[in-house]
Structures are given as C-alpha cells and as structure tokens.
C-alpha cells in the first residue's frame, strides 16, 4: 500500500515563527503536492513538485515556500506564520499519468493553529 506520512497531526505556533511541515511518501512517486483545507472552501493547491529540486506554484502560494531535496520528501515552509494560515494542511503524491486518471494518495493531514 502507498503510504504518505506527515510529521505532525497537530501543531501550534506563534505569529511570526518559521514553520516546517514535512511529508514523506514510500512509493517512489514523482509528483508531490501540498494543499490546505478550510471549511466551505474544499482543498486548494499551494505548491507542487514533479521531481527533485523542482517546484511550481499552485493556486495560493503566497506566504509559503517548499523544498524537495529528495524524491520521497516534500516540505512546506511558512517563512513567518500568520493567523490566516491556521488551517488543515494535506500532502499528496502520485505517479505522472499523461493519459489522465492518476490517483493522488493523501497523508492524514496536519492541523496547524497559529496564535
């Protein structure tokens, strides 16, 4: 089974802190994604990566950055956390599929609270 793990289930940080959210997948997937989930808004894509050291902005990248130094690990970084970044963060991975229909496998999520 594909397994996507995230470093923390719950995290509480203070405004202005630098925050690292870690994601690891064990199936050698090329694609990795970071989403945030907010009530009534569904999931919104923050950043994604197609390969090591490669990153692309998603729909809401402002206030975030990412790092992918190894194929299995994709980190989301909040350079200076703000209260409007309080949210559930979900990591996902997938195999590239030019034909369409590729399934994304999701981690359990990290619920981040910024005070």
């Amino acid at each position: 089974d594909v397994k996507v793990t995230q470093s923390s289930r719950y995290l509480v940080k203070r405004t202005g802190e630098k925050v690292f959210l870690e994601c690891v997948q064990d199936m050698d997937h090329e694609n990795m994604f970071w989403y945030r989930q907010d009530p009534g808004l569904g999931l919104r894509l923050i950043y994604f990566s197609y390969d090591v050291k490669m990153k692309e902005k998603g729909d809401i990248p402002e206030g975030y950055s990412v790092s992918r130094e190894k194929k299995e690990r994709f980190s989301l970084i909040l350079e200076s956390a703000s209260t409007n970044q309080t949210s559930m963060y979900l990591c996902a991975s997938s195999i590239p599929d030019g034909q369409g229909g590729n399934e994304q496998f999701f981690g359990p999520g990290t619920r981040l609270t910024v005070l």
């Binding site: 994604f33 999931l43 894509l45 692309e56 990248p61 997938s94």
Partner: protein
C-alpha cells in the same frame, strides 16, 4: 481552466434510503473526474474515477457515478445509505485552475453527508 461545482453543501438522508450527491464540471477538454471521501479525522480516500471509458463508474462501498457529457454532470449515488457513509465528499476534476499542471487536481468545496438513524 477546469472547475467543479458541488450543488449541495449538506445532504441528509435516512439510513437505508438512496444517496445522491450532485456535481457539475467545467472543462476545456475531455475531463478526468473523481470522487474522494474524507471520514472524520481520517485522510482522503479515492471512491471512484472516470477516465473516458465506461460512463457509469462503480467505486468502493457500493457507490457509483455516471458521467453525462450533455449535462456536464458527474453525480454520485448509492442505493442504500449506511451509517458508516457519513463523511465529507469531494468532486474533483483533473487539471488545475492556475497550478498543478496536467497532473493537478481541482476540488469542489465538498458535500457533508449526514445519515439519520
């Protein structure tokens, strides 16, 4: 750009009665469509997917969805609801609005399914 609209934010049904969760999509090309489910305090799980093969797609736990191009719809159904079906359901189209590239996904805002005993 691709988008999906889930027509109901909440749906409440009695146990044993049919379930209908509605989704309309917009796509500039032949879409790949998915339904994901999220149970409380659990990760997202793929229910089913449509990728231009059969228009009636069967998924896990007795769910199915029908792709109707003329109506741009991909509604999720189940003949008989079970208490364990209570969850958040997301309709998803492949391809991002402005990001995610060809492999990205665009999610609807979700439908919360409530099962009454």
């Amino acid at each position: 750009a691709q988008s999906v609209t889930q027509l109901d934010s909440h749906v409440s049904v009695s146990e044993g009665t049919p379930v209908l969760l509605r989704c309309n999509y917009s796509s500039s090309y032949s879409p790949s469509l998915f339904w994901y489910v999220q149970h409380p305090n659990k990760g997202l799980q793929l229910l089913l997917k449509y990728t231009s093969a059969a228009t009636l797609v069967k998924g896990i736990n007795g769910f199915e969805a029908e792709f109707k191009k003329s109506e741009t719809s991909f509604h999720l159904t189940k003949p008989s609801a079970h208490m364990s079906d209570a969850a958040e359901y997301f309709c998803v189209v492949r391809g991002g609005n402005s990001g995610g590239g060809a492999d990205g996904l665009t999610f609807g805002k979700g439908t919360h399914l409530i099962i009454q005993p």
